[in-house]
């Protein structure tokens, strides 16, 4: 009886139906898949919007302005700038969104360019050649140089550059293979997760 009530639990039924609706796309595109896809997009967007409004906008903007305006008046400027994005919907005033965009781009570039360069370029370059005391570092150096040579398109590759570029192709293929292998593993894990839901949480066939 308990098993039957669990199977007929409306939330479990809905989750199972949506799982099969999504899987049905593997056969071919159909209205059930379309319904599940649109529902997912709508629910995700609605959820995100609510979280941002109730966890960020109200406590960090609305409440401070209305409770202590004298100390938080500057937030009004931020709100007005943010609202200027809505001018996108007006053909006459669309140009006004350039102001908030310029500020946002300037802010992001200002705080992240130097840090990104340091984290993603300089440190990576440094540790490509250091410490030069083991075979792995030598493999990394050969890999980096050969792949960079493969991507030299500004002049015709001649002499030693040709075999090095071919070596670069091998390194690239190994890289793609590793990424593809990881992708297969990830997708299978997701499928196992769904099947686990069907057998364990919904049908209770598995303990």
């Amino acid at each position: 009886m308990e098993l039957l009530s669990n199977i007929l639990n409306p939330w479990n039924l809905l989750a199972a139906f949506l799982t099969f609706a999504i899987f049905s796309f593997l056969y071919k595109d159909n209205p059930f898949y379309k319904f599940a896809e649109h529902l997912f997009v709508g629910v995700s967007l609605g959820y995100s919007t609510c979280i941002i409004i109730f966890n960020a906008f109200i406590p960090k903007v609305v409440n401070p302005i209305f409770t202590d305006f004298s100390h938080n008046w500057h937030l009004v400027i931020a709100v007005l700038l943010g609202m200027m994005y809505f001018f996108r919907f007006s053909s006459k005033y669309r140009w006004l969104i350039r102001f908030p965009m310029a500020i946002q781009i300037g802010f992001t570039a200002g705080i992240s360019v130097t840090l990104r360069m340091d984290a993603r370029l300089f440190k990576q370059l440094k540790f490509t050649v250091m410490p030069l005391d083991n075979i792995y570092t030598i493999i990394v150096i050969v890999g980096v140089i050969s792949v960079l040579i493969y991507f030299l398109f500004t002049f015709k590759r001649k002499g030693i550059l040709n075999p090095l570029a071919k070596l670069g192709t091998i390194f690239l293929m190994v890289g793609f293979g590793a990424t593809f292998g990881n992708t297969v593993m990830a997708r299978i894990s997701l499928l196992i997760g769904r099947i686990s839901f069907l057998l364990k949480d919904w049908l209770h066939i598995l303990e």
Binding site: N55, K60, V140, L191
Partner: protein, 280 residues
């Protein structure tokens, strides 16, 4: 000859169906799988193992429910390890749904380890301006998060006693289905030398290995396999370890398909060459 053509033009739906049937059967097969521990997972385990009771760590939840099958088992295993070591856990979220998953995870284990919100762990609210949060926590965590998820004032919470900024945090562990670990590296590690560990979906893992070599990340838990490794390390067999049989058998099926497809391709190529020579 016909069978080679049939294999080369195999309907992809047959592959999907085969995999689906295989994965429906495998949960009922109980094989003893040997879980080999990879170095990046072990490094995270060792780091937590070396911490003392009461040390504060930050756990960043950067994934939505779609990535739960891969990331939730490793989140649980890691949190279980933190609770065993009696660490103070500070949750932040860089994904809107992250805090809900953190709540679910703590609900599962807090009774077992007698963990209390505000005393042993705290859920800080989601803040959409990630760069400001990541940088701001390097100056003052309570200024960036004046209130926790439930609206309590963070100043005065027992779990945040003597915790001001990154300098007081032993490890920042990011569970992510996207590129947030890179942002933690850029903002928290590069600027404030915060130690970063990460648990990621297997799809993203290859992107983060370069950060392990440089020491910008101390370790990495890779997908469901990584979760099974962590469960093995903490001697707590759970969901991920149980699913390793299905995972392994599914991989064998895919490898077989790849092998059969390649063999058919080369036989077909040889046959075509023979036909060309025959007609010439």
């Amino acid at each position: 000859m016909d069978i080679i053509k049939k294999i080369l033009h195999l309907d992809r739906r047959i592959i999907f169906l085969t995999l689906f049937i295989v994965l429906l059967i495998t949960p009922f097969i109980h094989l003893e799988m040997k879980i080999n521990i990879t170095n990046p997972t072990r490094r995270i385990f060792n780091d937590v193992e070396e911490m003392s009771e009461g040390d504060p760590i930050i756990v960043s939840m950067s994934y939505a429910p779609f990535a739960k099958p891969e990331l939730y088992p490793m989140t649980l295993a890691f949190l279980r390890h933190c609770c065993m070591k009696k660490l103070r856990i500070i949750f932040v979220a860089t994904n809107e749904a992250g805090m809900s998953i953190a709540i679910q995870a703590m609900e599962e284990i807090k009774m077992e380890f007698e963990y209390e919100h505000g005393k042993d762990y705290v859920l800080l609210a989601f803040n959409p301006v990630l760069s400001a949060v990541m940088l701001g926590m390097g100056e003052s965590i309570t200024d960036i998060f004046p209130e926790d998820y439930y609206g309590n004032k963070t100043k005065g919470l027992k779990v945040l006693k003597d915790v001001n900024d990154y300098r007081d945090i032993k490890l920042l562990m990011d569970f992510s289905a996207g590129d947030s670990p890179v942002w933690w590296v850029v903002y928290a590690n590069t600027r404030y030398n915060q130690r970063i560990g990460t648990g990621v979906t297997a799809v993203m893992a290859a992107d983060f290995y370069p950060y392990l070599n440089t020491g910008q990340m101390i370790g990495l838990i890779n997908g469901l396999k990584g979760a099974a490794e962590y469960e093995t390390l903490i001697n707590h067999t759970a969901e991920a370890t149980e699913k390793m049989t299905s995972q392994a058998i599914a991989h064998i099926v895919i490898i077989l398909f790849i092998l059969i497809g390649n063999i058919a391709y080369f036989i077909d190529k040889r046959n075509k060459r023979k036909e060309r020579h025959g007609t010439a």
